[in-house]
Protein backbone atom coordinates (compact mmCIF):
# COMPACT_ATOMS: atom_id res chain seq x y z
CA UNK A 1 0.00 0.00 0.00
CA UNK A 2 1.33 3.43 -0.83
CA UNK A 3 1.35 5.73 2.14
CA UNK A 4 -0.15 9.17 2.07
CA UNK A 5 3.22 10.90 2.34
CA UNK A 6 4.61 9.60 -0.94
CA UNK A 7 1.33 9.67 -2.83
CA UNK A 8 1.17 11.81 -5.97
CA UNK A 9 -2.16 13.25 -7.10
CA UNK A 10 -3.71 11.50 -10.07
CA UNK A 11 -7.30 12.65 -10.26
CA UNK A 12 -6.11 16.21 -9.73
CA UNK A 13 -3.08 16.05 -12.01
CA UNK A 14 -4.50 18.77 -14.27
CA UNK A 15 -4.96 21.28 -11.47
CA UNK A 16 -2.56 24.15 -11.95
CA UNK A 17 -1.57 22.96 -15.45
CA UNK A 18 -1.97 25.66 -18.06
CA UNK A 19 -4.90 24.81 -20.32
CA UNK A 20 -5.20 21.56 -18.36
CA UNK A 21 -8.86 21.42 -19.29
CA UNK A 22 -8.13 21.19 -23.03
CA UNK A 23 -8.18 18.05 -25.13
CA UNK A 24 -4.59 18.65 -26.18
CA UNK A 25 -3.38 18.81 -22.58
CA UNK A 26 -5.41 15.78 -21.60
CA UNK A 27 -3.97 13.75 -24.45
CA UNK A 28 -0.45 14.86 -23.64
CA UNK A 29 -0.93 13.46 -20.14
CA UNK A 30 -1.89 10.08 -21.57
CA UNK A 31 -5.62 10.62 -21.81
CA UNK A 32 -7.93 8.93 -24.36
CA UNK A 33 -5.24 6.44 -25.44
CA UNK A 34 -6.58 3.97 -22.84
CA UNK A 35 -10.07 4.43 -24.25
CA UNK A 36 -8.93 3.70 -27.80
CA UNK A 37 -7.02 0.63 -26.65
CA UNK A 38 -9.94 -0.59 -24.61
CA UNK A 39 -12.45 -0.13 -27.44
CA UNK A 40 -10.17 -2.08 -29.74
CA UNK A 41 -9.27 -4.89 -27.37
CA UNK A 42 -11.93 -5.41 -24.73
CA UNK A 43 -15.53 -6.50 -24.85
CA UNK A 44 -17.97 -4.71 -22.52
CA UNK A 45 -18.12 -7.60 -20.01
CA UNK A 46 -14.34 -7.44 -19.69
CA UNK A 47 -14.55 -3.75 -18.85
CA UNK A 48 -17.18 -4.48 -16.22
CA UNK A 49 -14.88 -7.15 -14.82
CA UNK A 50 -11.97 -4.73 -14.79
CA UNK A 51 -13.90 -2.17 -12.72
CA UNK A 52 -15.34 -4.86 -10.50
CA UNK A 53 -11.95 -6.34 -9.73
CA UNK A 54 -10.48 -2.90 -9.03
CA UNK A 55 -12.73 -2.71 -5.98
CA UNK A 56 -13.86 0.79 -6.98
CA UNK A 57 -16.66 1.99 -4.74
CA UNK A 58 -18.93 4.83 -5.82
CA UNK A 59 -17.63 8.22 -4.78
CA UNK A 60 -21.01 9.96 -4.53
CA UNK A 61 -21.70 9.06 -0.93
CA UNK A 62 -23.10 5.57 -0.55
CA UNK A 63 -19.90 3.76 -1.49
CA UNK A 64 -21.59 0.96 -3.40
CA UNK A 65 -19.33 -1.21 -5.57
CA UNK A 66 -19.39 0.39 -9.02
CA UNK A 67 -18.68 -2.74 -11.04
CA UNK A 68 -21.24 -4.73 -9.09
CA UNK A 69 -23.85 -2.04 -9.76
CA UNK A 70 -23.20 -2.43 -13.46
CA UNK A 71 -23.76 -6.19 -13.31
CA UNK A 72 -27.34 -5.61 -12.13
CA UNK A 73 -28.27 -4.46 -15.63
CA UNK A 74 -30.30 -7.10 -17.47
CA UNK A 75 -28.27 -9.22 -19.87
CA UNK A 76 -29.02 -8.94 -23.58
CA UNK A 77 -31.40 -6.04 -23.10
CA UNK A 78 -32.47 -4.65 -26.49
CA UNK A 79 -31.91 -1.11 -25.15
CA UNK A 80 -31.80 1.70 -24.83
CA UNK A 81 -29.80 1.68 -21.62
CA UNK A 82 -29.02 5.02 -20.02
CA UNK A 83 -26.03 6.24 -18.08
CA UNK A 84 -26.69 9.20 -15.79
CA UNK A 85 -23.68 10.95 -14.39
CA UNK A 86 -24.54 12.61 -11.14
CA UNK A 87 -23.08 16.10 -10.99
CA UNK A 88 -25.73 17.48 -8.68
CA UNK A 89 -23.09 17.82 -5.99
CA UNK A 90 -24.99 19.58 -3.22
CA UNK A 91 -23.88 18.00 0.03
CA UNK A 92 -22.74 20.86 2.25
CA UNK A 93 -18.95 20.98 2.31
CA UNK A 94 -18.49 19.13 -0.99
CA UNK A 95 -16.87 20.59 -4.12
CA UNK A 96 -14.62 17.94 -5.63
CA UNK A 97 -16.90 17.37 -8.63
CA UNK A 98 -16.75 21.07 -9.41
CA UNK A 99 -12.96 21.03 -9.46
CA UNK A 100 -12.82 17.92 -11.65
CA UNK A 101 -15.30 19.37 -14.14
CA UNK A 102 -13.64 22.77 -14.32
CA UNK A 103 -10.03 21.64 -14.39
CA UNK A 104 -10.08 18.27 -16.12
CA UNK A 105 -13.39 17.72 -17.93
CA UNK A 106 -11.89 15.26 -20.41
CA UNK A 107 -10.99 12.90 -17.58
CA UNK A 108 -14.70 12.86 -16.72
CA UNK A 109 -15.66 12.31 -20.34
CA UNK A 110 -13.19 9.47 -20.88
CA UNK A 111 -14.48 7.74 -17.75
CA UNK A 112 -18.04 8.31 -18.90
CA UNK A 113 -17.37 6.89 -22.37
CA UNK A 114 -15.68 3.82 -20.89
CA UNK A 115 -18.54 3.34 -18.43
CA UNK A 116 -21.13 3.70 -21.18
CA UNK A 117 -19.27 1.16 -23.29
CA UNK A 118 -19.17 -1.27 -20.37
CA UNK A 119 -22.87 -0.86 -19.62
CA UNK A 120 -23.88 -0.71 -23.32
CA UNK A 121 -25.46 2.69 -22.85
CA UNK A 122 -25.83 4.75 -26.00
CA UNK A 123 -26.90 7.94 -24.26
CA UNK A 124 -25.35 9.51 -21.20
CA UNK A 125 -26.84 12.46 -19.37
CA UNK A 126 -24.67 14.52 -17.08
CA UNK A 127 -27.08 15.98 -14.56
CA UNK A 128 -25.33 19.17 -13.51
CA UNK A 129 -26.52 21.38 -10.72
CA UNK A 130 -27.56 24.88 -11.66
CA UNK A 131 -25.02 26.46 -9.32
CA UNK A 132 -22.03 25.40 -11.45
CA UNK A 133 -22.10 27.63 -14.54
CA UNK A 134 -18.33 27.36 -14.99
CA UNK A 135 -18.51 23.58 -14.89
CA UNK A 136 -21.25 23.74 -17.49
CA UNK A 137 -19.11 25.81 -19.83
CA UNK A 138 -16.04 23.71 -19.26
CA UNK A 139 -17.84 20.40 -19.78
CA UNK A 140 -19.74 21.63 -22.83
CA UNK A 141 -16.50 22.84 -24.43
CA UNK A 142 -14.91 19.46 -23.71
CA UNK A 143 -17.91 17.61 -25.14
CA UNK A 144 -17.65 19.69 -28.32
CA UNK A 145 -13.94 18.89 -28.57
CA UNK A 146 -14.59 15.19 -27.98
CA UNK A 147 -17.20 15.06 -30.74
CA UNK A 148 -14.83 16.83 -33.13
CA UNK A 149 -12.05 14.38 -32.26
CA UNK A 150 -14.27 11.35 -32.77
CA UNK A 151 -14.45 10.26 -29.14
CA UNK A 152 -18.19 10.85 -29.13
CA UNK A 153 -20.92 10.31 -31.69
CA UNK A 154 -21.40 7.46 -34.12
CA UNK A 155 -18.97 4.57 -34.38
CA UNK A 156 -16.35 5.89 -32.01
CA UNK A 157 -12.86 5.27 -33.42
CA UNK A 158 -14.20 2.55 -35.69
CA UNK A 159 -15.32 0.39 -32.78
CA UNK A 160 -18.96 0.26 -33.76
CA UNK A 161 -19.80 1.76 -30.40
CA UNK A 162 -21.82 4.99 -30.46
CA UNK A 163 -22.46 7.40 -27.65
CA UNK A 164 -24.02 10.81 -27.14
CA UNK A 165 -23.40 12.80 -23.97
CA UNK A 166 -25.80 15.57 -23.04
CA UNK A 167 -25.66 18.09 -20.22
CA UNK A 168 -28.88 18.49 -18.28
CA UNK A 169 -29.26 21.48 -15.98
CA UNK A 170 -30.77 21.10 -12.53
CA UNK A 171 -32.67 23.76 -10.65
CA UNK A 172 -31.23 23.97 -7.16
CA UNK A 173 -32.65 20.98 -5.31
CA UNK A 174 -30.47 18.79 -3.06
CA UNK A 175 -32.76 15.81 -3.52
CA UNK A 176 -31.74 15.55 -7.20
CA UNK A 177 -28.50 14.02 -5.97
CA UNK A 178 -30.46 10.96 -4.84
CA UNK A 179 -30.27 8.68 -7.85
CA UNK A 180 -33.98 8.10 -8.37
CA UNK A 181 -34.74 11.73 -7.56
CA UNK A 182 -32.26 12.60 -10.28
CA UNK A 183 -34.05 10.30 -12.70
CA UNK A 184 -37.47 11.79 -11.93
CA UNK A 185 -36.02 15.27 -12.38
CA UNK A 186 -34.42 14.27 -15.67
CA UNK A 187 -37.82 13.05 -16.82
CA UNK A 188 -39.24 16.51 -16.18
CA UNK A 189 -40.99 15.88 -12.90
CA UNK A 190 -40.60 16.89 -9.30
CA UNK A 191 -37.59 15.06 -7.91
CA UNK A 192 -39.40 12.64 -5.64
CA UNK A 193 -37.26 9.56 -5.05
CA UNK A 194 -38.77 6.26 -6.13
CA UNK A 195 -39.52 3.26 -4.02
CA UNK A 196 -36.97 0.51 -4.70
CA UNK A 197 -37.13 -2.12 -6.03
CA UNK A 198 -37.18 -1.90 -8.95
CA UNK A 199 -33.68 -0.47 -8.84
CA UNK A 200 -32.63 1.84 -11.67
CA UNK A 201 -30.55 -0.95 -13.22
CA UNK A 202 -33.84 -2.72 -13.97
CA UNK A 203 -36.16 0.23 -14.47
CA UNK A 204 -34.62 3.67 -14.34
CA UNK A 205 -34.74 6.69 -16.62
CA UNK A 206 -37.66 6.58 -19.04
CA UNK A 207 -38.47 3.13 -17.62
CA UNK A 208 -35.29 1.71 -19.13
CA UNK A 209 -32.28 0.12 -17.43
CA UNK A 210 -30.15 2.91 -16.04
CA UNK A 211 -26.89 3.34 -14.20
CA UNK A 212 -26.29 6.44 -12.09
CA UNK A 213 -22.66 7.17 -11.19
CA UNK A 214 -20.93 10.14 -9.62
CA UNK A 215 -18.48 12.45 -11.44
CA UNK A 216 -15.53 11.39 -9.30
CA UNK A 217 -16.40 7.74 -9.95
CA UNK A 218 -16.12 8.47 -13.67
CA UNK A 219 -12.68 10.00 -13.12
CA UNK A 220 -11.63 6.88 -11.21
CA UNK A 221 -12.80 4.66 -14.08
CA UNK A 222 -10.65 6.66 -16.49
CA UNK A 223 -7.63 6.22 -14.22
CA UNK A 224 -8.23 2.50 -13.75
CA UNK A 225 -8.30 2.11 -17.53
CA UNK A 226 -5.07 4.09 -17.81
CA UNK A 227 -3.08 2.73 -14.88
CA UNK A 228 -4.59 -0.66 -14.25
CA UNK A 229 -6.41 -2.60 -11.59
CA UNK A 230 -3.24 -3.44 -9.67
CA UNK A 231 -2.27 0.20 -9.42
CA UNK A 232 -5.72 1.09 -8.08
CA UNK A 233 -5.67 -1.71 -5.54
CA UNK A 234 -2.20 -0.69 -4.36
CA UNK A 235 -3.73 2.50 -2.91
CA UNK A 236 -6.03 2.76 0.08
CA UNK A 237 -7.20 0.30 2.69
CA UNK A 238 -7.52 -3.41 1.89
CA UNK A 239 -10.59 -5.39 2.82
CA UNK A 240 -10.74 -6.49 6.44
CA UNK A 241 -9.98 -10.24 6.37
CA UNK A 242 -12.08 -10.69 9.51
CA UNK A 243 -15.12 -9.11 7.91
CA UNK A 244 -16.31 -10.96 4.80
CA UNK A 245 -18.73 -8.14 4.04
CA UNK A 246 -16.04 -5.45 3.87
CA UNK A 247 -15.03 -4.84 0.25
CA UNK A 248 -12.15 -2.55 1.24
CA UNK A 249 -11.50 1.05 0.35
CA UNK A 250 -9.23 1.14 -2.67
CA UNK A 251 -7.90 4.00 -4.71
CA UNK A 252 -7.27 7.71 -4.42
CA UNK A 253 -9.94 9.97 -2.98
CA UNK A 254 -10.66 13.65 -3.24
CA UNK A 255 -11.10 15.15 0.20
CA UNK A 256 -12.78 18.54 0.40
CA UNK A 257 -11.47 20.42 3.39
CA UNK A 258 -13.29 23.55 4.55
CA UNK A 259 -14.47 25.46 7.57
CA UNK A 260 -12.00 26.51 10.23
CA UNK A 261 -8.73 25.44 8.67
CA UNK A 262 -5.88 27.63 7.50
CA UNK A 263 -5.92 26.30 3.94
CA UNK A 264 -9.30 25.09 2.73
CA UNK A 265 -9.16 23.14 -0.51
CA UNK A 266 -9.66 19.90 -2.37
CA UNK A 267 -6.86 17.47 -1.64
CA UNK A 268 -6.19 14.06 -3.09
CA UNK A 269 -4.95 11.33 -0.80
CA UNK A 270 -5.17 7.55 -0.53
CA UNK A 271 -8.40 6.42 1.07
CA UNK A 272 -7.83 5.97 4.77
CA UNK A 273 -5.94 9.15 5.64
CA UNK A 274 -7.00 10.25 9.11
CA UNK A 275 -9.01 13.40 9.66
CA UNK A 276 -6.19 14.77 11.78
CA UNK A 277 -3.52 14.21 9.15
CA UNK A 278 -5.72 15.78 6.51
CA UNK A 279 -6.32 18.86 8.64
CA UNK A 280 -2.74 19.26 9.82
CA UNK A 281 -0.74 18.30 6.76
CA UNK A 282 -2.96 19.56 3.96
CA UNK A 283 -5.08 22.15 5.70
CA UNK A 284 -2.31 23.81 7.67
CA UNK A 285 -4.08 23.01 10.93
CA UNK A 286 -7.10 24.53 12.61
CA UNK A 287 -7.15 28.25 11.89
CA UNK A 288 -6.00 30.98 14.24
CA UNK A 289 -4.13 28.47 16.39
CA UNK A 290 -7.38 27.20 17.85
CA UNK A 291 -8.48 23.67 18.61
CA UNK A 292 -11.16 21.77 16.74
CA UNK A 293 -14.36 21.18 18.64
CA UNK A 294 -15.85 18.84 16.07
CA UNK A 295 -15.26 17.75 12.49
CA UNK A 296 -17.76 16.68 9.86
CA UNK A 297 -16.17 13.61 8.23
CA UNK A 298 -17.94 13.49 4.87
CA UNK A 299 -20.56 16.15 4.27
CA UNK A 300 -22.97 17.40 6.89
CA UNK A 301 -25.25 14.37 6.67
CA UNK A 302 -22.54 12.08 8.00
CA UNK A 303 -22.66 13.58 11.49
CA UNK A 304 -19.74 14.66 13.67
CA UNK A 305 -16.41 13.43 14.92
CA UNK A 306 -15.32 14.88 18.25
CA UNK A 307 -11.77 16.19 18.69
CA UNK A 308 -10.86 12.93 20.41
CA UNK A 309 -11.99 10.98 17.34
CA UNK A 310 -9.86 12.82 14.78
CA UNK A 311 -7.54 9.88 14.31
CA UNK A 312 -10.40 8.07 12.61
CA UNK A 313 -9.28 6.89 9.16
CA UNK A 314 -11.40 8.39 6.41
CA UNK A 315 -12.04 5.22 4.45
CA UNK A 316 -15.46 3.75 3.81
CA UNK A 317 -15.50 1.88 7.11
CA UNK A 318 -13.78 4.42 9.38
CA UNK A 319 -16.34 7.10 10.24
CA UNK A 320 -18.98 4.45 10.93
CA UNK A 321 -16.82 3.02 13.70
CA UNK A 322 -16.93 6.43 15.37
CA UNK A 323 -20.71 6.52 15.22
CA UNK A 324 -20.97 8.60 12.05
CA UNK A 325 -23.21 7.64 9.16
CA UNK A 326 -20.27 6.88 6.89
CA UNK A 327 -17.61 8.42 4.68
CA UNK A 328 -20.22 10.14 2.51
CA UNK A 329 -18.60 12.54 0.08
CA UNK A 330 -15.41 12.81 2.16
CA UNK A 331 -16.07 16.50 2.69
CA UNK A 332 -14.32 17.38 5.91
CA UNK A 333 -15.56 20.50 7.66
CA UNK A 334 -13.69 21.71 10.71
CA UNK A 335 -15.61 23.45 13.48
CA UNK A 336 -13.39 25.25 15.97
CA UNK A 337 -13.76 25.49 19.74
CA UNK A 338 -15.48 28.90 19.62
CA UNK A 339 -18.55 27.61 17.78
CA UNK A 340 -21.66 26.75 19.75
CA UNK A 341 -22.78 23.22 18.96
CA UNK A 342 -26.35 24.54 19.17
CA UNK A 343 -25.62 26.89 16.28
CA UNK A 344 -24.08 24.05 14.30
CA UNK A 345 -27.12 21.86 14.77
CA UNK A 346 -29.44 24.72 13.91
CA UNK A 347 -27.60 25.21 10.63
CA UNK A 348 -27.81 21.49 9.88
CA UNK A 349 -31.51 21.22 10.73
CA UNK A 350 -32.31 24.29 8.66
CA UNK A 351 -30.56 22.77 5.66
CA UNK A 352 -32.51 19.53 5.84
CA UNK A 353 -35.83 21.20 6.58
CA UNK A 354 -35.25 23.30 3.48
CA UNK A 355 -34.19 20.38 1.31
CA UNK A 356 -36.62 17.67 2.38
CA UNK A 357 -38.64 16.97 -0.74
CA UNK A 358 -41.82 16.51 1.26
CA UNK A 359 -42.75 13.10 -0.05
CA UNK A 360 -42.40 11.07 3.17
CA UNK A 361 -44.14 12.42 6.25
CA UNK A 362 -41.49 11.40 8.83
CA UNK A 363 -38.85 13.37 6.91
CA UNK A 364 -41.01 16.36 6.00
CA UNK A 365 -42.31 16.73 9.55
CA UNK A 366 -39.22 15.50 11.36
CA UNK A 367 -36.81 17.89 9.67
CA UNK A 368 -39.18 20.81 10.14
CA UNK A 369 -39.94 19.94 13.77
CA UNK A 370 -36.29 19.59 14.66
CA UNK A 371 -35.61 23.01 13.16
CA UNK A 372 -38.48 24.52 15.13
CA UNK A 373 -37.07 23.09 18.32
CA UNK A 374 -33.62 24.45 17.57
CA UNK A 375 -35.15 27.86 16.84
CA UNK A 376 -36.89 27.74 20.20
CA UNK A 377 -33.76 26.63 22.05
CA UNK A 378 -31.79 29.48 20.50
CA UNK A 379 -34.57 31.88 21.49
CA UNK A 380 -33.96 31.00 25.16
CA UNK A 381 -36.98 28.76 25.52
CA UNK A 382 -35.32 25.36 25.37
CA UNK A 383 -36.14 22.54 27.78
CA UNK A 384 -34.05 19.53 28.63
CA UNK A 385 -36.92 17.45 27.36
CA UNK A 386 -36.25 18.86 23.88
CA UNK A 387 -33.06 16.83 23.76
CA UNK A 388 -35.11 13.66 24.22
CA UNK A 389 -37.52 14.78 21.52
CA UNK A 390 -34.69 15.59 19.13
CA UNK A 391 -33.10 12.22 19.80
CA UNK A 392 -36.43 10.55 19.16
CA UNK A 393 -36.80 12.31 15.82
CA UNK A 394 -33.22 11.34 15.02
CA UNK A 395 -33.86 7.69 15.68
CA UNK A 396 -37.19 7.40 13.88
CA UNK A 397 -36.84 9.18 10.54
CA UNK A 398 -34.92 7.60 7.72
CA UNK A 399 -34.40 4.51 5.65
CA UNK A 400 -32.65 2.71 8.47
CA UNK A 401 -35.64 2.83 10.83
CA UNK A 402 -37.69 2.10 7.70
CA UNK A 403 -39.83 5.21 7.69
CA UNK A 404 -38.71 6.94 4.49
CA UNK A 405 -38.09 6.14 0.84
CA UNK A 406 -34.64 7.66 0.53
CA UNK A 407 -31.68 8.44 2.73
CA UNK A 408 -32.14 12.20 3.07
CA UNK A 409 -33.75 11.78 6.47
CA UNK A 410 -30.93 9.53 7.67
CA UNK A 411 -28.61 12.36 6.71
CA UNK A 412 -30.77 14.80 8.63
CA UNK A 413 -30.90 12.48 11.63
CA UNK A 414 -27.20 11.77 11.99
CA UNK A 415 -26.02 15.28 12.88
CA UNK A 416 -28.81 15.41 15.48
CA UNK A 417 -27.90 12.04 16.95
CA UNK A 418 -24.14 12.65 16.94
CA UNK A 419 -24.39 16.19 18.28
CA UNK A 420 -26.60 15.20 21.19
CA UNK A 421 -24.67 12.03 21.99
CA UNK A 422 -21.22 13.61 21.78
CA UNK A 423 -21.97 17.13 23.07
CA UNK A 424 -24.85 16.56 25.46
CA UNK A 425 -23.24 18.53 28.29
CA UNK A 426 -22.95 21.60 26.09
CA UNK A 427 -26.60 21.39 25.06
CA UNK A 428 -27.73 21.00 28.66
CA UNK A 429 -25.56 23.89 29.78
CA UNK A 430 -26.86 26.10 26.98
CA UNK A 431 -30.47 25.29 27.81
CA UNK A 432 -30.07 25.79 31.55
CA UNK A 433 -28.29 29.10 31.13
CA UNK A 434 -30.55 30.51 28.48
CA UNK A 435 -33.78 29.37 30.12
CA UNK A 436 -33.07 29.30 33.88
CA UNK A 437 -36.72 29.28 34.91
CA UNK A 438 -38.15 26.93 32.33
CA UNK A 439 -35.56 24.34 31.42
CA UNK A 440 -37.28 21.63 33.46
CA UNK A 441 -40.68 22.15 31.82
CA UNK A 442 -42.10 19.04 30.20
CA UNK A 443 -45.56 20.19 29.14
CA UNK A 444 -46.16 20.74 25.44
CA UNK A 445 -45.20 24.22 24.29
CA UNK A 446 -46.21 26.07 21.15
CA UNK A 447 -43.65 26.22 18.39
CA UNK A 448 -42.18 29.57 17.45
CA UNK A 449 -42.54 30.70 13.88
CA UNK A 450 -39.55 29.64 11.80
CA UNK A 451 -37.82 32.83 10.84
CA UNK A 452 -35.05 31.55 8.67
CA UNK A 453 -35.98 28.40 6.81
CA UNK A 454 -37.16 29.59 3.44
Amino acid sequence: MSDSQSFQPVLLEAVGVENGHSLESYRSRGGYAPLEKLLAEKQPPEVVEMVKSSGLRGRGGAGFMTGLKWTFLPKDHPGPIYLCVNADESEPGTFNNRILMEDDPHQILEGTIISAYATRASTAYIYLRYEYPQSWNSLQAAIDEAYAAGYLGQNIKGSGFSLDIYLHRGAAAYICGEETGLIESLEGKRAWPRIKPPFPAIEGAFRKPTVVNNIETMACVAQIARRGVDWFRSIGVPADPNNPRDPGSYGPKLYCLSGHVEKPGCYEAPLGITARELIDRFGGGVWKGRRAKAVIPGGISMGLLSEAELDTPLDFAGPGKAGCLGLGTAAVVVIDETVSIVDFLHNSCRFFAHESCGQCTPCREGTSWSLRMLERIRAGKGRLKDLELLAEIGSTMGMMPGSTICGLADGAAWPIKNAIAKFRDEFEEYIKQSNPTGYMETDPVPALPILSAH
Partner: protein, 165 residues
Protein backbone atom coordinates in the same frame (compact mmCIF):
# COMPACT_ATOMS: atom_id res chain seq x y z
CA UNK B 1 -54.62 23.07 -31.66
CA UNK B 2 -52.66 26.07 -32.73
CA UNK B 3 -52.82 28.56 -29.92
CA UNK B 4 -51.74 32.12 -30.16
CA UNK B 5 -48.69 32.38 -27.98
CA UNK B 6 -48.46 35.36 -25.66
CA UNK B 7 -45.23 34.73 -23.82
CA UNK B 8 -43.04 32.22 -25.60
CA UNK B 9 -41.23 33.77 -28.53
CA UNK B 10 -40.48 31.87 -31.73
CA UNK B 11 -36.87 31.90 -30.65
CA UNK B 12 -37.63 30.24 -27.32
CA UNK B 13 -39.75 27.62 -29.03
CA UNK B 14 -36.96 26.94 -31.51
CA UNK B 15 -34.49 26.53 -28.64
CA UNK B 16 -36.77 24.10 -26.85
CA UNK B 17 -37.51 22.11 -29.97
CA UNK B 18 -33.82 21.88 -30.81
CA UNK B 19 -33.30 19.89 -27.62
CA UNK B 20 -36.07 17.39 -28.38
CA UNK B 21 -33.84 14.77 -30.08
CA UNK B 22 -31.87 14.42 -26.85
CA UNK B 23 -34.72 12.87 -24.90
CA UNK B 24 -37.08 9.97 -25.54
CA UNK B 25 -40.05 11.85 -24.05
CA UNK B 26 -41.37 15.34 -24.47
CA UNK B 27 -41.88 15.70 -20.74
CA UNK B 28 -38.12 15.56 -20.23
CA UNK B 29 -37.99 18.95 -21.95
CA UNK B 30 -39.84 20.51 -19.02
CA UNK B 31 -36.80 21.65 -17.06
CA UNK B 32 -34.87 22.80 -20.14
CA UNK B 33 -37.95 24.73 -21.32
CA UNK B 34 -38.46 26.35 -17.94
CA UNK B 35 -34.79 27.36 -17.92
CA UNK B 36 -34.99 28.83 -21.41
CA UNK B 37 -37.97 30.98 -20.47
CA UNK B 38 -36.54 31.88 -17.08
CA UNK B 39 -33.17 32.88 -18.55
CA UNK B 40 -34.96 35.29 -20.87
CA UNK B 41 -37.75 36.69 -18.70
CA UNK B 42 -36.27 36.14 -15.21
CA UNK B 43 -39.51 34.43 -14.28
CA UNK B 44 -41.95 31.91 -15.75
CA UNK B 45 -45.44 33.43 -15.73
CA UNK B 46 -48.50 31.19 -15.70
CA UNK B 47 -49.20 31.91 -19.35
CA UNK B 48 -45.76 30.55 -20.19
CA UNK B 49 -46.53 27.41 -18.19
CA UNK B 50 -49.64 26.85 -20.30
CA UNK B 51 -47.73 27.43 -23.49
CA UNK B 52 -44.90 25.10 -22.48
CA UNK B 53 -47.52 22.48 -21.66
CA UNK B 54 -49.08 22.85 -25.08
CA UNK B 55 -45.71 22.55 -26.71
CA UNK B 56 -44.85 19.38 -24.78
CA UNK B 57 -48.30 17.74 -24.93
CA UNK B 58 -48.66 17.98 -21.17
CA UNK B 59 -51.33 19.28 -18.85
CA UNK B 60 -50.40 22.74 -17.54
CA UNK B 61 -50.65 21.29 -14.05
CA UNK B 62 -47.80 18.90 -14.83
CA UNK B 63 -45.51 21.73 -15.81
CA UNK B 64 -46.65 23.85 -12.88
CA UNK B 65 -46.06 20.93 -10.52
CA UNK B 66 -42.48 20.66 -11.67
CA UNK B 67 -41.92 24.42 -11.63
CA UNK B 68 -43.12 24.87 -8.07
CA UNK B 69 -41.04 21.98 -6.78
CA UNK B 70 -37.82 23.73 -7.74
CA UNK B 71 -37.50 26.91 -5.73
CA UNK B 72 -35.22 28.19 -8.39
CA UNK B 73 -37.99 29.42 -10.67
CA UNK B 74 -39.69 32.73 -10.00
CA UNK B 75 -43.23 32.98 -11.20
CA UNK B 76 -45.28 36.01 -10.21
CA UNK B 77 -42.70 38.63 -10.95
CA UNK B 78 -39.23 38.64 -12.42
CA UNK B 79 -36.21 38.57 -10.18
CA UNK B 80 -33.81 41.48 -10.33
CA UNK B 81 -31.48 42.20 -13.19
CA UNK B 82 -28.78 40.56 -11.10
CA UNK B 83 -29.70 37.57 -8.95
CA UNK B 84 -27.30 36.89 -6.12
CA UNK B 85 -27.29 33.66 -4.15
CA UNK B 86 -25.45 33.98 -0.86
CA UNK B 87 -24.50 30.66 0.68
CA UNK B 88 -25.64 30.03 4.23
CA UNK B 89 -24.67 26.35 4.57
CA UNK B 90 -22.20 25.14 7.13
CA UNK B 91 -18.80 25.88 5.55
CA UNK B 92 -19.80 29.43 4.66
CA UNK B 93 -21.71 29.98 7.90
CA UNK B 94 -18.56 29.08 9.84
CA UNK B 95 -16.70 31.85 8.02
CA UNK B 96 -19.27 34.59 8.26
CA UNK B 97 -21.64 33.84 5.38
CA UNK B 98 -24.76 34.82 7.27
CA UNK B 99 -23.23 38.14 8.32
CA UNK B 100 -22.41 38.86 4.68
CA UNK B 101 -25.96 38.01 3.70
CA UNK B 102 -27.36 40.31 6.39
CA UNK B 103 -24.95 43.06 5.48
CA UNK B 104 -25.69 42.86 1.78
CA UNK B 105 -29.42 42.90 2.38
CA UNK B 106 -29.36 45.78 4.83
CA UNK B 107 -27.13 47.85 2.51
CA UNK B 108 -29.46 47.09 -0.37
CA UNK B 109 -32.47 47.91 1.79
CA UNK B 110 -34.17 44.55 1.29
CA UNK B 111 -34.81 41.33 3.13
CA UNK B 112 -33.35 38.02 1.95
CA UNK B 113 -35.38 36.84 -0.99
CA UNK B 114 -36.48 40.33 -2.03
CA UNK B 115 -35.67 42.52 -5.00
CA UNK B 116 -34.52 46.13 -4.76
CA UNK B 117 -37.19 48.68 -5.75
CA UNK B 118 -35.18 49.68 -8.84
CA UNK B 119 -35.18 46.05 -9.96
CA UNK B 120 -31.41 45.88 -10.13
CA UNK B 121 -30.81 43.14 -7.58
CA UNK B 122 -32.42 40.14 -5.94
CA UNK B 123 -30.59 38.61 -2.99
CA UNK B 124 -31.47 35.04 -2.05
CA UNK B 125 -30.04 32.80 0.62
CA UNK B 126 -28.69 29.61 -0.93
CA UNK B 127 -27.77 26.22 0.36
CA UNK B 128 -24.22 25.01 -0.32
CA UNK B 129 -22.91 26.48 -3.57
CA UNK B 130 -20.11 23.90 -3.71
CA UNK B 131 -17.36 26.47 -3.34
CA UNK B 132 -16.50 25.86 0.30
CA UNK B 133 -12.80 26.36 -0.48
CA UNK B 134 -13.71 30.02 -1.03
CA UNK B 135 -16.14 30.42 1.87
CA UNK B 136 -18.04 32.59 2.34
CA UNK B 137 -19.15 32.76 -1.25
CA UNK B 138 -21.90 34.09 -3.46
CA UNK B 139 -23.06 33.27 -6.97
CA UNK B 140 -24.30 36.28 -8.92
CA UNK B 141 -25.27 35.47 -12.47
CA UNK B 142 -22.43 33.27 -13.70
CA UNK B 143 -19.90 34.87 -11.40
CA UNK B 144 -18.68 33.21 -8.25
CA UNK B 145 -17.68 35.77 -5.64
CA UNK B 146 -15.08 34.24 -3.36
CA UNK B 147 -13.93 34.85 0.19
CA UNK B 148 -16.58 37.50 0.75
CA UNK B 149 -16.33 40.23 3.33
CA UNK B 150 -18.78 43.05 4.05
CA UNK B 151 -16.40 45.35 2.09
CA UNK B 152 -16.49 43.09 -0.94
CA UNK B 153 -20.26 42.97 -0.64
CA UNK B 154 -20.32 46.77 -0.70
CA UNK B 155 -18.19 46.84 -3.84
CA UNK B 156 -20.49 44.33 -5.46
CA UNK B 157 -23.49 46.45 -4.56
CA UNK B 158 -21.87 49.54 -6.07
CA UNK B 159 -21.22 47.70 -9.32
CA UNK B 160 -24.78 46.45 -9.46
CA UNK B 161 -26.20 49.89 -8.79
CA UNK B 162 -23.89 51.45 -11.33
CA UNK B 163 -25.07 48.93 -13.88
CA UNK B 164 -28.71 49.73 -13.24
CA UNK B 165 -28.48 53.51 -13.62
Amino acid sequence: MIAQRKVLTDEMVAQIEALAPRYPTKQALTLPALHIVHDELRHVPLDAVVEIAQLLDLAPAEVQDTLTFYQFFHQEKPHGKVRAFVCRSISCALRGGEQVLDHLCSQAGIKPGETTPDGSLTVEPAECLGACDFAPCMLAGDDLHKDLTPEKADQFLNTVRGGAS
